[in-house]
């Protein structure tokens, strides 16, 4: 059990002046904020920005649909002919692939954790915001492309 000691009137007023002086000194210290468009931020190796899909590796197991907490991922049928070597290694007989509504995705990373073949990943695609986004539910081929490839560089 500790007793608390507050400052008395004299030392307290001295403390006020000390606090003001400390802040006055802080005025000459370097700034910590960054101007984002000019200075780029560094992202960690796991920073989650948007869902990406490698269609060649997807086997259509629907595990990601089952684990997705808020119905962001829905499987959809998509006629896509994989290259020969991928078809042998990752067969997708039902031709179903995940489609993602990027607007309601919460970046929980569970789909990446559960994907048995590593087809679905979350990558640091965070600076690409677009005014001209026509649709937020991305079809499987759209999930393979970057935002600038999809909607152009105009913002």
């Amino acid at each position: 059990m500790q007793e608390e000691k507050g400052p008395g009137p004299l030392s307290g007023i001295g403390g006020i002046i000390k606090g003001v002086w400390f802040m006055f000194i802080q005025g000459f210290k370097p700034k910590v904020t960054k101007q984002v468009p000019e200075e780029k931020l560094e992202y960690g190796h796991r920073t989650t920005g948007r869902v990406f899909l490698n269609m060649d590796a997807c086997i259509g197991c629907t595990l990601c649909e089952q684990i997705c907490p808020n119905g962001t991922i829905r499987m959809m049928t998509w006629a896509y002919q994989k290259p020969q070597e991928f078809d042998k290694k990752y067969p997708n007989k039902r031709q179903i692939f995940p489609s993602v509504d990027v607007a309601i995705c919460t970046h929980c990373n569970l789909c990446e954790e559960i994907c048995p073949t590593g087809a679905i990943t979350l990558e640091a695609e965070v600076e690409e915001w677009h005014m001209r986004r026509e649709n937020t539910r991305y079809t499987p081929p759209m999930l393979g492309k970057k935002e600038s490839e999809l909607w152009g560089d105009e913002r």
């Binding site: 796991r46 595990l63 929980c108 990373n109």
Partner: protein, 367 residues
Amino acid sequence: MEKVVEVNFGPQHPSTHGVLRIKVKLDGEIIVDAQPVIGYLHRNAEKLSEMGLYPKALIYMDRLDYVAALNMELGYILSVEKLMDVETPERAQWIRMMMVELNRIASHLVWLGTHGLDMGMLTPFFYCWRERERVLRIFDEITGSRLLYNYFAIGGVYSDVTPKGLEMIKEFVNTFPDRLEEIQSIFQKSYIYAKRAKGVGKLSLEDAIGYGVTGPLLRASGLKWDLRKNQPYLFYDKVNFEVPVYSNGDVYSRFLVRIEEMRQSVRIVKQVLEKLPDGEFYNKKYAKPMLVRMKGNGESYVPTESPKGEFGVYVIGDGSTIPYRVRIRSPSFANLQAVSIMLKGYKIADLTATVSSIDPVFGEVDR
């Protein structure tokens, strides 16, 4: 003639920490009666958790106390692991401990900054945010998110600590105590703050225990009760730290308790950095497809010490992959009940000081 004025503080008030509404009856500047009204941020977290698989419920735990999300995850994960008898690798336990303590520092920094704002100080808020930003950068490096992590898995953690992350933690731990000292002296040595905080919002020990108040509020009222010491979970019995206790039960004591807790958290993180063993960070038995097949049977409750107080999740499993019942014991909800006896007889200006000293986060109160 009736002299009492009834004023609604909130839910749209700049200093109610979210959406708290307090119906205050005022006689001049003096508070005659204060009743908290909650429920403006109700999001049905318990029932939503009962609708999905066991790992899915974790993201709702993140959104309870969003400034200390890893602490919330820990309460649920420990409970589920006890329910399923999951063996967790040692390294994962140590990593969890480290991350939870870092998150406790971040949460207390948020509290300190907003407490300053409620006292009318504009600037300490930014110093606290500057330090918290460094913690969030560490979390961004290790977990991949800054606020809502979804990092603790059943049977470990989802990703290992990277060498760069360890470097960042080391740098933070070495420089943070000095910065904290500076921020603390702005508050503690100032006569204005001492006059505002001392003897305000008093909560006696009997009332605190009677209302089920836990966490820093209880320790500021004079009871040495910290679940990390009294009922150790993880490896808290293998590290050295002290539990700060003050006896006055006012805003000033709570301030001192939280400041000292940040120091002790730094101490724990330093010890974890020394003791961190090599090995697996994730029990591979529960990886990949097992995430959708985990079944729980029985019931379990593991109390943990979150920054706000005792947090625990009571989970009942009926043998399926979906929890039958998830009941959340949230600390701010219990602490907030005591607000009306803490406020009676004080001035309006003490209302913001007292409410912010409870440190309520409304994602957790309303669930």
